[in-house]
């Protein structure tokens, strides 16, 4: 769809091309390091090094048949799902509270809720370690799930807040006037309308947990190791291309998550257009 059918001037055409060149360069800068690891997953060598002399699927096979890695995959999905669920519930409630009309300390509270996005993760992990140790939460799934939920919640707050900014609060009043309790009004009216934001936030929260390694390093016992944690020790101990295989699998999952987010965004736009 072309919004602007006016003929372009020479300088406009030039600046358009320059913009395209910069955009492509930026995209390469962002994506190339991620893609650099992928060919190594299909190397038939013994070490994680270029150049690749021959290709094989042996490291992929090794990844999928290893008990250690299977455990890591299971842990990643288990911790990711639980922490995303927890982050989604807490983050959605926080976003709704913060979307209300102004109250004293709203900005401070918003900053506080979003702080996990900016606090250096190492500091957060060390703090968690000392906080959790006396509570017996280190070396436990509970501890890691709680840690990841706190890291994922800000993403939910951001996406749900964005959905709520287009939400007509009169609808909640209408629901109340028609006899719906606040909880029922939330379930029947607000939740269906902000659902794209909630699910997008949940996916981001899952992704945040899925690639998180620092708090896992501090808090996880060997039986709670996740994929990134296993890769981290693999890098220190063996440097075998199985790490590249694990990376390739994680990239595929990340791409699937991104695609899901994009689909949701389109759906939300359609809903907004018809609302």
């Amino acid at each position: 769809m072309s919004h602007n059918s006016m003929p372009l001037t020479t300088s406009e055409r030039l600046s358009g091309r320059l913009l395209a060149a910069v955009a492509v360069a930026t995209a390469i800068f962002l994506v190339a390091p991620i893609l650099a690891i992928v060919p190594l997953a299909f190397s038939d060598g013994e070490f994680l090094v270029y150049p690749i002399r021959g290709y094989s699927l042996k490291w992929m096979e090794a990844f999928f048949s290893s008990e250690k890695w299977a455990m890591a995959v299971k842990n990643s999905f288990f911790i990711g799902s639980l922490s995303a669920a927890l982050a989604t519930v807490l983050g959605t409630m926080a976003a709704i509270g913060l979307s209300r009309t102004d109250f004293l300390g709203k900005n401070v509270l918003t900053g506080f809720v979003l702080s996990p996005l900016v606090v250096p993760i190492v500091i957060y992990a060390v703090g968690l370690y000392f906080f959790f140790a006396p509570l017996g939460l280190t070396q436990s799934y509970t501890g890691i799930v709680l840690a990841h939920a706190a890291l994922g919640a800000p993403f939910v707050v951001v996406t749900v807040s964005a959905s709520l900014s287009g939400f007509d609060h009169n609808l909640m009043r209408a629901a109340a006037s028609l006899g719906a309790s606040p909880l029922l009004a939330f379930r029947r009216v607000m939740l269906p309308l902000v659902l794209p934001g909630v699910v997008t936030g949940a996916l981001f929260a899952f992704a945040a947990s899925f690639d998180e390694v620092v708090t896992v390093l501090f808090l996880a016992a060997p039986e709670q190791r996740t994929i990134p944690r296993e890769m981290f020790s693999g890098l220190r101990e063996s440097l075998s291309p199985i790490i590249a295989a694990a990376s390739a699998v994680m990239i595929v999952i990340a791409v699937l998550l991104l695609a899901a987010v994009e689909l949701l965004k389109r759906r939300a736009q359609r809903m907004r257009a018809t609302a």
Binding site: A174, A176, L178, T274, A275
Partner: protein, 377 residues
């Protein structure tokens, strides 16, 4: 819908109708010193169409929201019959509400929207389907049950909102400028529909608007709000013909205003010397024996040409403009440094020539003298 009970159908009957809602010394302030609503008393009678009329910021919407339960009074109590409402959340009040922007649920079909209050009340599916159908028939939109709100025009959406607010048979329905977003012709049509629903269902309606024409045509009684207080509560005719103070006189309907000083006062009659030097005899409303006064005259009560013969006070001016309105002419007259407007029915008025000298006047009972200090908000 319920068949109408034995309810008063003419406004004169409401004087004796029982009270449904009482506002008792209601005040509302957000910051502790500026009052949006000040120590307000109001009785809403069962079965009446009561309009809260006023400029924005006058407190009328705040009163409606307090009755609905979306705002909490800072002090005072609202009674619904014998029940104090202060501790009752909105969803337990059983009051229907129609919003200016319709507030239909965009993710539900029209039928689902109307079924919502019935589902919340736990009605069975068959009963819900029956009531939804009847509600759609009532607002004369039987064919649209499966559509979405965004597929309807503004007028249709507002009729669906009406059906949804009435389907659970509330005795009290609140309307917050429900026709504000519609164009003039549709608005007049909807005014008529709301009015006939009010009468056929025996509803008690509290209606908020800043449109005084709408208030005059629809209401049994009108409460004029300004500065958080009710300045006058009366039926439309009394409000228009006998405004209690200068603010009501200028806010409701059109008016000409002559400022001056009181020369003499004898009972209900006062003589006012206008700034232009004319002495006018006027009906004293809220003025004392001396001091300033504002004489207010409706344009349709200004007589011109031969009709001034026999009037006590006649003023001479110059015709500035004559505007044709179909059923009437508006004659703009420059006199005493003012723009005086006279409304003449087209059929019995000869259009005066622009630029010509013209004599005009009015009966002293049509000239009402007010305290100018009480003509502002």
């Amino acid at each position: 819908m319920k068949a109408p009970k034995n309810l008063p159908t003419r406004q004169s009957d409401f004087a004796t109708a029982p009270t449904l809602v009482t506002f008792e010394k209601i005040s509302k302030t957000y910051d502790g010193h500026t009052h949006v609503v000040k120590n307000l008393d109001l009785e809403i009678r069962r079965g009446e169409f009561l309009t809260l009329l006023g400029p924005s910021g006058s407190g009328k919407t705040t009163c409606l929201m307090m009755l609905a339960g979306f705002e909490v009074p800072t002090s005072g109590e609202i009674w619904h019959g014998e029940v104090p409402l202060s501790r009752k959340p909105p969803h337990e009040r059983g009051i229907g509400m129609v919003f200016q922007n319709y507030a239909l649920f965009p993710h539900m079909s029209i039928a689902e929207n109307i079924a919502f209050p019935l589902e919340v009340r736990g009605l069975g599916r068959a009963a819900i389907a029956e009531k939804v159908k009847r509600a759609l028939d009532m607002v004369r939109l039987p064919q649209i049950a499966d559509r979405r709100p965004n597929q309807l025009s503004g007028g249709q959406q507002q009729r669906v909102a009406l059906a949804r607010a009435l389907v659970f048979e509330p005795e009290l329905v609140l309307m917050d400028e429900p026709l504000g977003a519609l164009d003039k012709q549709l608005r007049e049509h909807m005014q008529y529909e709301i009015r006939s629903l009010h009468m056929s269902l025996g509803l008690t309606v509290v209606y908020v608007t800043h449109d005084q024409t709408e208030a005059l045509t629809m209401s049994d009684r009108i409460a004029v709000f300004a500065g958080g207080r009710i300045r006058q509560l009366a039926d439309p005719r009394a409000l228009y013909e006998e405004p209690a103070d200068g603010l009501v006189a200028t806010f409701v309907g059109e008016s000409n205003r002559f400022d001056g000083t009181i020369v003499s006062r004898d009972g209900d009659t006062a003589v006012i010397a206008t700034r232009g030097g004319t002495r006018l005899e006027a009906f004293a409303v809220d003025i004392g024996a001396t001091g300033p006064a504002a004489v207010i005259v409706r344009p349709e009560n200004v007589r011109i040409g031969a009709a001034v013969d026999g009037l006590r006070d006649v003023i001479t001016g110059r015709v500035v403009d004559v505007v044709y309105h179909g059923d009437h002419l508006q004659v703009h007259i420059a006199a005493e440094g003012l723009d005086v407007v006279a409304k003449q029915p087209t059929r019995d008025a000869e259009a005066p020539t622009v630029g010509s000298e013209i004599r005009f006047g009015f009966l002293s009972r049509h000239a009402r003298a007010y305290d100018p200090a009480r003509t502002d908000h």
